[in-house]
Symmetry: C2
Subunit: 333 residues, 2 copies
């Protein structure tokens, strides 16, 4: 008997993906990207994505800010829509709730969710509410829409393309370490910044749309499992390798101070840490000026380039020494 602990999330997706129905009329992309992509009228496509959050795995109830939980539940799906370059539309929310759970807490979760929803014009149109015999479980399914010829898949990266990341990386996993009680000599301001980056990620919807509209992006996804792990998806699905400039990975001042005060095993969080919810994308060399002209908030950084090869990721240090990056990142089991 194989268990999920042994095969992991991606092993399971491979197994069920292998038994998938043959490519069906109207399905531009099924399992294997940030969203499923479905053809509709007038050369438009619909996007659909689903994210599950489980108490004790993705969040704690005790001591948490319920409004931030609701915000994050929607933000992670908005980030998937952003990663295709789409416009978000409607959300449905399913909740499995322990019977003695505080109703007021869940109302505040909804308030946080609705606050973010209204900023992005998302309508929360229904769902399902039931009892849980265990943890609080929340699932959100989000739809989106966009022009078919602008969809940014993971599979279009080619040799010579430049690799970009938005914002700064590693903040969220540093924030998680702080939330789990890791004592680090940081100012209250730095702590707040990193915790907020973990608990209240800002989905890059406007940037994703602008990048898709620019027509210069060859591949894109959102950083949810850690840059090393997510870049590997682009490499596998595009059949290429990547070289990262270790000195070019964008990090925040707060993260830099966190790193200085931390032990060795947290030194690479900007590469291996999950839940950044920034965009990682590739651009053909000729598109460099166009892309760098359109990016404003949160800013983008060129962190490397695509090379030919068999789906490996190399990192170069300040001395130009190249080493291969192990496949790592957040493992869901």
């Amino acid at each position: 008997m194989a268990t999920f602990r042994e095969i992991g999330e991606f092993g399971f997706i491979e197994r069920i993906g292998a038994a998938a129905l043959p490519p069906a009329v109207g399905v531009c992309c099924g399992i294997g990207d940030d969203c499923a992509v479905l053809a509709c009228e007038n050369d438009r496509v619909r996007l659909i994505t689903s994210d599950l959050m489980v108490e004790g795995v993705h969040f704690a109830v005790e001591g948490s800010n319920p409004g931030w939980l609701g915000h994050k539940l929607l933000a992670v799906s908005l980030s998937d829509i952003a990663a295709m370059g789409g416009e978000p539309r409607e959300a449905v929310v399913s909740l499995a709730i322990p019977p003695d759970f505080d109703v007021g807490f869940m109302e505040r979760v909804y308030k946080g969710l609705r606050g973010l929803a209204s900023r992005f014009g998302v309508n929360v149109v229904g769902g399902d509410t039931t009892r849980s015999t265990g943890p609080l479980v929340m699932n959100l399914t989000l739809t989106g829409e966009m022009d078919q010829d602008r969809v940014c898949y993971r599979s279009g990266a080619a040799r010579g393309d430049l690799i970009y990341a938005s914002g700064t990386l590693g903040d969220s996993s540093a924030g998680l370490k702080l939330a789990l009680g890791q004592a680090v000599g940081l100012s209250e301001e730095d702590r707040e910044f990193l915790l907020r980056r973990h608990h209240r990620p800002e989905p890059r919807v406007a940037l994703g749309r602008a990048l898709a509209a620019s027509g210069t992006v060859t591949a894109m996804l959102d950083l949810s499992d850690g840059m090393a792990s997510d870049l590997r998806h682009i490499c596998r699905q595009s059949g290429v390798s990547a070289v990262i400039d270790g000195t070019a990975i964008p990090v925040s001042p707060a993260f830099r101070r966190f790193r200085e005060h931390s032990d060795a095993c947290t030194r690479n969080l900007e590469i291996t840490g999950g839940e950044d919810y920034e965009l990682l994308f590739t651009v053909a060399p000729g598109g460099r000026d166009d892309v760098e002209a359109l990016a404003s908030e949160p800013g983008i950084s060129c962190i490397g380039r695509i090379v030919s090869g068999d789906e490996r990721i190399y990192i170069e240090n300040a001395q130009g020494l190249r080493s291969e990056l192990e496949a790592r990142g957040f493992e869901h089991f």
Copy 2:
């Protein structure tokens, strides 16, 4: 502090519904019907519905048929699409799985899900897979499509309308009692029939579409919480009352024999028992012949009529004596 045990599913929906965003452009119907209904191009609407199944609440893993679990996970959402009169389209599936769970079991769940999906032309296009710290949790979101002017809401029933149910009622809850070990002197054939009706419901998609296309249906929903509880939704949302003919409620021969062998508290399962996944709908008196002409498999039965009044449900026995039906049915907490 109010708990979910105290306020229940519908109490919570009222609370979050009250704080809903103002009716938004393109949302024909949000929370409060079997599906959300969203306007799209060419006078078409998209439907979306979500259903959550929690181990220990909706099913047991031990001793269960995994293929049937997958079938049921999709069937309950297909039944919601059927209740609007729509055509099903795509599904996304989210799973929270204990780490030591058997992968082969989940593959068989998917096989059952895909078997039903292929019968109804549903594409399973993605989802999310994560770890659970407690029970196995499965969520399925299903989309559908139909003409905007054919959507069957819960709110259109009017005085004088006839009330119909499809198929037979009570089989599923009798099957649940058998599954939970209730000893009843039934033939193996009857046991199998009732267990199958519980574990492997057949969604009434073709009937729902034919009813919607006929243009005679004034209100419709699917029977998931028990006829008494579900009919009350139609009465509340239409502002009417209902009189049920207790002798006209359709029951199967197997259910009749189950009832004869059972104790008093299981006598009214055809009225109070949940998970029938049959359709309950109302028809203006002039539409009677049209509706009865189109219904083939699974057959429909006229079980009562809509009267004016303040959202009460009465039941008449064989002697014509009328008594008011208490609000009862499946309570999710």
